[in-house]
Amino acid sequence: MEDIKLVLDTIWVLIAAALVFFMQAGFAMVETGFTRSKNAGNIIMKNLMDFSVGSVMFWLVGYSIMYGVSNFGLFGWSGFVFYDDYTSLIFQTVFCATAATIVSGAMAERTKFISYLVYSFFVSVVIYPVSGHWIWGGGWLSTLSIGGAEGFIDFAGSTAVHSVGGWTALVGAAILGPRIGKYSKSGKSNAIPGHSLTLGALGVFILWFGWFGFNPGSQLAASSAEDAIAIGQIFVTTNLAAAAAAIVAMIVTWIRYKKPDVSMSLNGALAGLVAITAGCAAVSPMGAFFIGIIAGIVIVFAVEFIDKVLKIDDPVGAISVHGITGAVGTLLVGIFATDGGLLYGGGFGQLAIQAVGVVAVAAWVLPTAFIVFKTVDKIIGLRVSATEEQNGLDIEEHGIESYADFEIKGVTLHHGA
């Protein structure tokens, strides 16, 4: 019987791991689809390599930092290379890779390939594992208690995975500066449409599909009736939040821009998924629905804020989708958690813990990422030359054209109004 339980838990986690792995394809398609064709191969390569480098480094080092014996609740340190639970290793590896790959979208179309490899190394070895340790590895956030509530709730990683990726993306994109032509001299933001909305949309559908591994898999067990019921409910909360956010993002763009924006609605679905990730097991379907609605509103304004106020150029909206809605979703657990949430009479304790967690992770990631990117920038340079950027990274960094048979527009059809 214990054997059967072990089998059930293991197989469930492994199936989920496969689905989460597949999200790499989703990210690759979203990021390439929403950027220009002259950089399509480069962004693919970055996605391939952050996963590959991440897989190797997380196995060699990262997993031990995250799940090794804790040092003061700050980081783990034991194991390294040899583990006894390979099921856990692969599951955590694909999560780490998710955090890593978020960044390539925000830094797309102008980051030097080699510098991106260096970044991939550090995110898998240090940045992600440390805050991951705090939240999931038995670190201080997992045991934090405020006002009766205990433990930061980030079930599947709105903060541990998505915000970590999002904040790193924020720092990276800010240091890089905008793509040539993104802002006119007067500071006006110009539109730079992606080259394939269909591939971008395919990516979103793949991500949504993969999320049915990401969230329900984070139950980490499937051998009791409680597990089964919880997992079923997580499917529902995950799906409802995504659906609601997609609809709401569409409505908001319809009102603000006169027409329902396709790429923003797709971002909306992702925002809903990111937002529900922290609380998917803690909120009711109705709570998920509202979290989705909030995420759908937040994403549109977040994208505008990053673009027009901060003037940080994030071609695919990664900072907003993962960083900002990740943080918002984490906070909302404090409000919507059926056990301990503000709306359910749980008081402010859980909300406070959630806020501490969100802030603490940001406070860890932002400076660390800053140091990594700045150092890389100093030593090997973070950004390609203007000519390389104009000709495209595909031809300049890899010597290829991604669409060799197609006539590509030499004329830029769009420019800011």
Partner: protein, 115 residues
């Protein structure tokens, strides 16, 4: 040698099929088509992409080039005007250019015979 002329028509893509058919009817069979972007009186539009305004000010147009000897130039122009005119901005323009010679590669014929 008869005078040879090129007629260059820039118009709406949706009219190309009709124009081709009409020209076929008056005996014009050789034509060359290409895709261009035009900018003229017809204005583009302002749209939003992810919250950022942008202007589409180059409109997709089709170019039809027909090289003929002098006589049917008027005929071609007439047919084109008839088929293409809608009275709305964007009907397009016809440009007439002189041609010095034409050579048919397969036969080596030159001038009007090559057409």
């Amino acid at each position: 040698m008869d005078k040879i002329t090129k007629i260059d028509i820039i118009t709406r893509p949706s009219k190309v099929e009709a124009l081709k058919a009409a020209l076929n009817e008056i005996g014009i069979t050789g034509m060359t088509f290409s895709h261009v972007l035009g900018c003229g009186l017809q204005k583009g539009k302002t749209e939003y992409y992810r919250g950022t305004e942008y202007e589409i000010d180059l409109l997709p147009k089709s170019r039809i080039e027909i090289v003929v000897c002098e006589v049917p130039v008027e005929k071609v122009v007439e047919v084109a005007k008839e088929v293409l005119r809608t009275g709305e901005i964007g009907d397009g323009k016809i440009f007439i250019y002189p041609v010095e010679n034409v050579i048919k590669v397969r036969t080596g014929e030159e001038g009007v015979k090559a057409l």
